[in-house]
């Protein structure tokens, strides 16, 4: 017998459940006075560099019904392609940009809106630049393990065409599931479909 590796194993996931708002967005859920404000609701301030955008996201179930109890977190680079994270070793990100946002989907419409900036390009492992993208993490009642995906931008056709991650999607008809449509000057609409012909490409990262 060889030596033991003595690794631990990751704790198993359990669904966030219907009351995830109590824990992660208590003020949104009507529990005020415990925290000053919910974490992740403001990603930008007056001094943030870059193009201001709004990302309007929904999560749709297998019948096409928007989830009204989902929680979405996003993670992205600043306008220079740098993340506000200690693990970011390429340089200091914009101190006026959090890189991270968290929103509950609206209990009536199922939509949530992130006020953020358009991210810069981030290198892939081999140095090629990835197209501008936002990483999404979705949890809700009925989702047993948080879902990872990415949002790309419809008006970045050239960058999307050379993106090494999009290039790995075997069924090219599924690529558009990751591309948010532009709405007006500065908004993007991103529908995440959990099932069906247009099921969003989810990642095992």
């Amino acid at each position: 017998m060889a030596q033991l590796l003595n690794r631990l194993r990751e704790s198993p996931s359990q669904t966030a459940g219907p009351y995830v708002h109590i824990g992660l967005t208590p003020n949104f859920s009507g529990i005020s006075g415990v925290y000053d404000r919910d974490l992740g609701i403001e990603m930008v301030n007056d001094m943030t560099r870059g193009q201001r955008i709004a990302v309007r996201a929904r999560v749709l179930d297998g019948t096409g019904t928007p989830l009204k109890d989902a929680l979405i977190e996003i993670w992205q680079a600043d306008s220079d392609g740098l993340h506000n994270s200690p693990s970011e070793k390429r340089g200091a990100a914009d101190p006026n940009f959090s890189s991270w946002g968290r929103k509950a989907t609206d209990m009536v419409s199922g939509e949530c809106v992130f006020e953020t900036i358009k991210p810069g390009r981030v290198p892939f492992k081999d140095g090629r630049l990835m197209a501008p993208h936002i990483t999404f993490w979705i949890v809700a009642r009925g989702i047993n393990l948080g879902l990872h995906t990415r949002m790309y931008f419809a008006d970045e056709e050239a960058a999307n065409a050379e993106d090494p991650v999009l290039a790995r999607i075997e069924h090219r008809s599924r690529v558009p599931t990751l591309i948010a449509e532009r709405q007006g000057e500065d908004a993007y609409v991103f529908d995440i479909r959990l099932q069906g012909d247009k099921e969003t490409v989810f990642f095992d990262i």
Binding site: N6, R7, L8, R9, E10, S11, P12, Q14, T15, A16, G17, P18, Y19, V20, I22, G23, L24, P26, S29, G30, I31, V34, T63, E73, W75, H83, S85, P86, S87, E88, K89, R90, S99, W100, V122, P123, F124, K125, D126, G127, H133, T135, W137, G142, I143, N144, L145, G146, L147, V165, R168, I169, Q195, E199, T200, V201, F202, F203, D204, I205
Partner: protein, 247 residues
Amino acid sequence: MASDPKPETGAFFQRDRDRHPPAFTPAYKTSVLRSPQKALLSLDNTISEITGPVFGHDILGELDNDLIHNFARPGESAIGERIIVYGRVLDERGKGVPGALLEFWQANAGGRYRHKKEGYIAALDPNFGGCGRTITDEDGNYTFRTIKPGAYPWPNGVNDWRPAHIHFSVFGHGFAQRLITQMYFEGDPLIWLCPIVRTIPDKAAIETLIAALDMQATIPMDARAYKFDIVLRGRRSSLFENRLEGN
């Protein structure tokens, strides 16, 4: 984090999906229409997944880790069995994870959540909100004070009950480590009847979500203690990897 002068930048170990519940678990009915059906796209981590938000202790209020008092009127406290929950956040290499933000939420002692969509007949406790948070210390340790939540019925089967549990949301150092799970209590017979618990196929994996009663950490005449360790994904060393981007 200031106390972590050399943050690690390696990719995370591949997630062992046999450890987790599959997406489609029909005995938990809500999963049926909310479970992706196509294969996931496997992606060795890029900088977008290796990095992640890290939160400073300055975000924490004095009572954030005290659910007995953080919603209560001055001089009053939540009703229920007083407990301490403590443990460590580790990664798969066995290293403590410092600076990990933990957020938790739970029902009150009667099994009732403070939420507009909650309809269980058990009474609300005016002194209990049900949320708290803390950040692990340099060795990955955390602790908080609360009351033991009650079990409650939920609409799935006609007579399904959730065992007493506390929800945990955990940040590590990379966005790929993001995890939500639930903590159960040693000795609760409802654990093994619950369709949500049973979405996890491996009994040994379920047992890692059951907190142990720890009488040595109990505060005499005050609160019992439960120990609950959480393991996040480990990460590879980046020392010998080709880094073509020239960093």
